[in-house]
Symmetry: C2
Subunit: 292 residues, 2 copies
């Protein structure tokens, strides 16, 4: 059993009961703190060759031996000392006192902490980093909205009545927006699902009823032989999905790839932003408004 | 290296060059034959508990020891002797002389041959059975249409020009249908991708221009502890996708789950059928016609 297993179990149990609650804040603080301690005390940083313009990366390795390697970590965004110092404010979604650059670092470091540690502590575990990241983002968003999400919606349509499972959805009630919040550590070819689920919500409830906010960690990919890092991006496919399937309202990244960020400036104008910016537009996201 | 590796490499290489060609027929015959020989000579059949009404299952195990187990095999559809006898007619897509029941057995046994053998010969290999199944189905369909598919389409839209990667698409030219052919050994939650890609084709080229034919092997799932088999089906979600994302023209199964087959008889009328039926309606599928 990994040294993080107990804190991870507390997190997932608490997240099911009350995602925005204090118990989730505490479990996250514990899990992020333990992960950062493991990475600082028991690991070293191995520099990687970056094939991403303007970004540098390293991977964590256990101090004992060089066999294992974590996913790539953006060296400009990972700051364990900073994250450890402010982790209790972070898990309370209380980031308003920080400038944008500091906010990005705290968020990125906390998100990477359990993911990087798990890469070294467990073999081929893709599931728990995804579950951690979903609970972490879901908690920060739910606290910011002061509202818990649901994970299914009713489809009522003449003689059809179905309960459709969804990603997190937030319903603020009459006169407000509703939010559809898919969360993924990275997207790859599975991302079309997000536009498809948004399309179902548009079809069942009407266009511009649910705002789709996709939250992603990063799109890095490590090429093991060359020990080099690339970002895997398909911006032209995203543009086609946004044109012909449905319209996502925001795509937030903890480490935005520049090829996706560029989509915000030309048709069909997919609004890709740093997740740090979410906290500055919470009110705007929940206020119902006509399609601009 | 597995005893099937050389034949598998021949298949994938030939499929890239000419999917409907003789070289693919030969590679499939070789690979299916070798797989059936391995299963007959080196394996035993372990009965499984079926929790699927009307269907019985077994799993292959190596004669040496009981550690490994193949995916579940439908005992009523697997007939190695029959498949071996008619494999050369099968890979030529020349199945017109057989009744429907025989056709189903030959198709199912051939599709399961490499998948079942690989479950025992390799560890956690999900990729090569999927690639084999795609080449096998693609070859039979391409031979039946006497036309090779492409795997990308041009999106031309005012100032946008993009090459979009797709599943197999067949273009019969003016006055005929075009076919969109996604192929999956099983669907699970990823299936929404199929409706989403169909939606893109509808949006780019117009509704009822591309007919979507989804081909699947089975939806069985083995519960290891109880050694029992279930079919994982989400028919209400499929109905919602068919209503709100796009309309698939056919869903073919080598072993149709009854919960999906039932979708054909009530709104929104998803036409789920045995893949054996495809060969009887080739002409109808390629003839352009108004939405009924």
């Amino acid at each position: 059993v990994s040294i993080l297993a107990t804190a991870y179990e507390s997190l997932t149990a608490a997240a099911k009961l009350d995602l925005k609650g204090k118990a989730v804040s505490q479990a996250l603080e514990e899990l992020i703190g333990r992960s950062l301690t493991f990475l600082s005390d028991s690991c070293k940083e191995k520099p990687l060759q970056s094939n991403v313009p303007g970004k540098g990366y390293f991977a964590f390795q256990p101090k004992g031996g060089p066999e294992k390697m974590s996913r790539p970590v953006n060296e400009a965004l990972f700051d364990a000392e900073l994250a450890r110092k402010y982790v209790s404010r972070l898990v309370g979604a209380n980031l308003s006192g920080f400038d944008s650059a500091t906010r990005k670092k705290i968020l990125y470091t906390a998100a990477m902490s359990y993911c990087g540690a798990t890469d070294l502590l467990k073999k081929d575990d893709k599931k728990t980093p995804g579950t951690f990241f979903e609970a972490f983002v879901g908690h920060l968003v739910a606290r910011s909205f002061n509202l818990n999400p649901t994970t299914s919606i009713n489809v009522l349509n003449l003689d059809l009545k179905t309960q459709l499972p969804t990603d997190y959805v937030f319903d603020f009630g009459p006169g407000k927006n509703k939010i559809h919040l898919p969360i993924k550590t990275s997207t790859r070819e599975r991302v079309v699902q997000v536009w498809a689920h948004q399309r179902v919500l548009d079809g069942v409830y009407g266009v511009n009823r649910f705002k789709g906010l996709l939250v992603c960690l990063t799109e890095t990919n490590m090429q093991r032989k060359a020990m080099s890092v690339i970002e895997v991006c398909l911006p032209e496919q995203w543009a086609v999905y946004q044109m012909f399937i449905s319209q996502l309202h925001r795509v937030y990244y903890f480490d935005p790839p520049s090829k996706y960020a560029a989509l915000a400036t030309k048709y069909p104008f997919i609004q890709v932003k740093p997740f740090a910016d979410f906290f500055a537009e919470v009110d705007r996201l929940t206020t119902a408004a006509p399609l601009a």
